[in-house]
Amino acid sequence: MFYRENGQFKTNYKADQQIFAITQDRWAVLALIAFAFIGVPMMVDEYLFRAILIPFLILALAAVGLNILVGYCGQLSLGSGAFMAIGAYGAYNFIMRIEGMPLILALLLGGVCATIAGIVFGIPSLRVRGLYLAVATLAAQFFWDWAFLRIGWFTIYTPSGSVAVSNLQVFGWTINSPVEKYWFCLGFLTVFALLAKNLVRSAIGRNWMAIRDMDVAAAVIGIQPLYAKLSAFAVSSFIIGVAGGLWGFVHLGGWEPAAFDIQRSFQLLFMVIIGGMGSIMGSMFGAAFIVALPIFLNQALPVVGSWVGVTISTAGIAHAEFMIFGALIVWFLIVEPHGLARLWSIGKQKMRIWPFPH
C-alpha cells in the first residue's frame, strides 16, 4: 500500500534490467545517497564522523568485498585482515617511493597488490572447501602479519615498524577535516558498492552463485571453477585492499600490523554473517551493527546506570559491553539466520502489501 509497482510497465530491456526496478525504490535510494552526501554533514558532529561514520564506511566497503567471496561465491575466508594490510602497506609504499603519486591511484594500486596476493592465496580454494579453505586463508593472515612485522622493506625501514601518512590530497583538495574524510570514504563506498552490485547481477556474478550453490553442477553446465573462484578472490581482495588503504590513510593516519590482525578478519566475517550473506545492502547493515553497537553500548550503559542510580566502573562497562554484544549476536542469528538484509527485504515486502498480511 505504501508503495506498489502497479502501472509501472517496462517497455524495453534496459528498464527491465535496472538495479531498482521499482520507481519508488529508485527514488528512495537516490534520496538516501543524497542525504548521506549532503544531509549528514550538516547535522553530525566531529565525534560521530571520526569515531563511527568513517570507520563504518570503510569497514562496510571491506564487508562488501568479503561478501563477494563468502556470500556470493561461497568461499570461506579468514584472510581479509591480511588483504586490508596489503592494501594499506601497498598504497603506503607507492605514495612514499614514487614522487608525486596521486592518492587515489596509490589506493587503487594498493588494491591491485591485494588482488595479486588474493589470487595466490585463493589457489587452495580449487582443491579444498569450507572450513579447510578457511584454514588455508588463515595462512595468508599469518604470513602477511609476519611479513609486515619482519621485512623492513615494506615499512621503508622505520625504526619501530609503524608507518604514518599525512597531508592527503586529491587534485589539490586536501582531505583533512572529518567532513572531507567522510565524503572521500563515502565516494569510494558508493562507487564500489554500485560496481559490486552490477557485478553480482552480471554473468560473472551468476557464475559465482552457481559455484556457491553446487560447484559440481556448475562445472557440468560449463562454468570453469578455476576462473570463477579465482575471479571472486581477485575482486574481493581488490575491494578489501582499497578498504585497507582507506583504513590506514584516512581513518588511522598511522598504523602498525596489529591494526590488521586476525581480529579484523573475524570482525569482517561477522559483519557478512550478521548483515546477510549474498547481499550488498547486508554488508552495510552488518558493518553498522559491528562498528556502532559496541560504542553505543559503551556510552549508553553509564547513562542507563545513572537512571537507576548505579555507577558502573570503567571495567564493568567494558565487560558488560562484551556480554551484551555477544548475546545480541547469538539472538540475531537465532531469530534471523539470514541476516539483517533479510529483515530489510521482509520489511519492504510488508510495506508493499500493507494492510494485508499476504
Binding site: Y47, A51, L149, P159, N167, N176, E256, F296, T314, A315
Partner: protein
C-alpha cells in the same frame, strides 16, 4: 511472528535511547580543567593497566582535595581502550571535545601514540608519553605536540647496555658477548632495536632479536632459542601478561634471573608476584622511582583519599611501581598546566595550545618536587623548546622475592649516542611528512 515484533520493538527502543543520549553533550560549570584518561582495565594488559590507571586517577583527585591548580578544579573522565589502537582513537575522538575540550592525552600505548601523533597537531592537544612513545619525538623542533617526558625507549636500552657494560667491567668488555632482546612484537617492543644495533656495532656484542607475538602468553619457542644460544644477558621488553610469562619461562628454562634485565614497563609487582621467590634476582629498570610506599605523596593519598573512602583501587597497591608511574604522569600534566597558568592567567582554564607551552617550559626543582610530595620519588627535570624529554634518570632495581631493591647508581642516556640518532630519525620523519623544523621565533608562541 511475535519474536519479530519484539525485535522491531527493540530496534525502535534502541533508536529512541540513542536519540535521548545525543544531546547529553555536557555544559559543565566554568573554571574546571578536563583531563581525559585512556585506560585499559580489561584485556591481556589489564594487570599492568589497572594500577597505572588507579594512580593516574588518584592524583587528580588529590589535586582537587588540595584545592585544584590555583583554584581550578580538575575533571577526569575514563575511557576503556583495551590497549587496542582503534579503540584508543575512538576514545580520543570521544573525549577531545568534552567538558570544554581535553587538555592533554596520555595514551600509555606506543601503537596509540603513533596514531595520535598524527592527530595532535590538527586538534592542538599535546600528548604526554612519559617513558614511552616514539623515541625521536624528544626532538621538539619537529614533534611540536609530543612530550616523551622522563625518558624514551632509546634511553632505556642505552642505560641497560651501560649497566651490563659496567657489570662486565667496562663497555669494551662486551666484545664477543651475546645479548638477547626478547620483545613484544609491536611498535613498543621494536622501538629499542635501532639503538641496540648501534650499540652492538660500537662495542662488538652480538644482538639476538627474539620477538614474542601479542599478547605474549606463548613463549616456548622463544625460550627454546634462549636455551640453545645461551645469551650472556637477556633484555626483556614486555608488557602485561608477557612479563610474568617470560619470567616463568626463564624459571622453566633455567636461565639465571640475575642475567635478565627488563625495561621499566617490565619491572612492576604484577610481573613478578606470581612467581615471587623464583623471580628472585630478576632486574629491571626503574624510571626515576621504584615502589615508594614511604614517600610523602603516597602518605597524603592514603590520608586524604583512601582513608576517606575516595580512593581508586585497592589500598595496598598504593605506592607500587605502576601506581607511582600513574601518579607521576598525572603530576607532570598538572605541573604543565600550572606553568601555562603562570603565563596565561592564574586561576583560569587553559587551552591545549597553552598547555603545550606549559609542558615545553617546565622546570621541576627540588623545592617544587618536595612541596608536591615527590621529594625522593623523582629527580629534577626541565624541558625546553627543543628538548621535550628533559632529564632521563633511571636506576636498576632487583626483585628480592618480596619487593624491589633499588641500586644506587643513577644512569642517563648517553647524549653522544642518542643525540645524532634522534636528530636523524626526526629529520627523516619531517622529510617524509614535508614538515620543516620549527623556527626559533616559534618557541615563544
Amino acid at each position: 511472528m511475535k519474536l519479530r515484533k519484539l525485535m522491531l520493538g527493540a530496534a525502535a527502543a534502541a533508536m529512541g535511547v540513542s536519540a535521548l543520549l545525543a544531546p547529553v553533550s555536557s555544559a559543565q560549570a566554568e573554571e574546571t580543567q578536563f583531563f581525559p584518561s585512556l585506560v585499559y582495565r580489561t584485556g591481556a594488559y589489564a594487570p599492568n593497566g589497572i594500577p597505572f590507571a588507579n594512580g593516574y586517577s588518584d592524583y587528580y583527585r588529590l589535586v582537587n582535595e588540595r584545592g585544584g591548580i590555583n583554584g581550578v578544579k580538575i575533571t577526569v573522565e575514563e575511557c576503556e581502550t583495551g590497549y587496542s589502537t582503534d579503540r584508543i582513537v575512538e576514545c580520543y575522538e570521544r573525549l577531545k571535545g568534552q567538558n570544554g575540550g581535553a587538555t592533554v592525552f596520555q595514551p600509555l600505548s606506543t601503537g596509540g601514540t603513533f596514531a595520535l601523533t598524527e592527530k595532535a597537531p590538527v586538534d592542538k592537544i599535546p600528548l604526554i608519553t612519559a617513558g614511552l612513545g616514539r623515541s625521536e619525538s624528544e626532538d621538539g623542533g619537529i614533534f611540536k605536540w609530543n612530550f616523551p617526558l622522563l625518558g624514551t625507549y632509546w634511553v632505556a636500552a642505552d642505560v641497560l647496555v651501560q649497566h651490563v657494560g659496567k657489570e662486565a667491567g667496562g663497555l669494551d668488555k662486551l666484545k664477543g658477548k651475546k645479548i638477547a632482546l626478547i620483545y613484544h612484537d609491536s611498535a613498543y617492543g621494536k622501538e629499542p632495536i635501532p639503538l641496540m644495533q648501534k650499540r652492538a656495532e660500537m662495542h662488538g656484542f652480538e644482538l639476538q632479536l627474539l620477538p614474542v607475538a601479542h599478547p605474549g602468553v606463548e613463549q616456548k619457542a622463544t625460550w627454546l632459542k634462549v636455551r640453545r644460544n645461551r645469551p650472556d644477558y637477556v633484555f626483556l621488553w614486555g608488557w602485561g601478561v608477557m612479563n610474568s610469562t617470560a619470567i616463568k619461562e626463564a624459571v622453566a628454562t633455567g636461565y639465571p634471573r640475575e642475567k635478565m634485565y627488563g625495561v621499566w614497563w617490565s619491572g612492576a609487582e604484577p610481573d613478578v608476584k606470581d612467581v615471587a621467590d623464583a623471580a628472585k634476582g630478576y632486574n629491571s629498570l626503574a624510571l626515576q622511582h621504584s615502589a615508594e610506599y614511604d614517600s610523602s605523596v603516597v602518605k597524603e593519598v592514603l590520608a586524604k583519599l583512601h582513608d576517606q573512602g575516595k580512593g581508586t583501587g585497592p589500598r595496598e597497591e598504593v605506592g607500587q611501581v605502576l601506581y607511582m608511574r600513574g601518579l607521576i604522569s598525572a603530576m607532570l600534566a598538572t605541573e604543565g598546566m600550572r606553568v601555562a597558568q603562570a603565563k596565561y592567567g592564574k586561576g583560569k582554564r587553559i587551552t591545549g595550545e597553552q598547555m603545550r607551552w606549559g609542558l615545553e617550559n617546565m622546570n621541576l626543582t627540588t623545592i617544587g618536587l618536595n612541596s608536591l610530595g615527590f621529594g625522593g620519588v623523582m629527580r629534577t627535570t626541565s624541558t625546553s623548546c627543543n628538548d621535550h624529554m628533559g632529564a632521563s634518570w633511571a636506576r636498576i632495581q632487583t626483585w628480592n622475592g618480596k619487593g624491589w631493591d633499588v641500586g644506587n647508581t643513577w644512569y642517563e642516556g648517553d647524549r653522544k649516542v642518542l643525540g645524532p640518532m634522534v636528530t636523524a630519525t626526526a629529520n627523516k620523519y619531517a622529510a617524509d611528512k614535508k614538515l620543516t623544523r620549527r623556527a626559533a621565533s616559534d618557541c615563544n608562541s
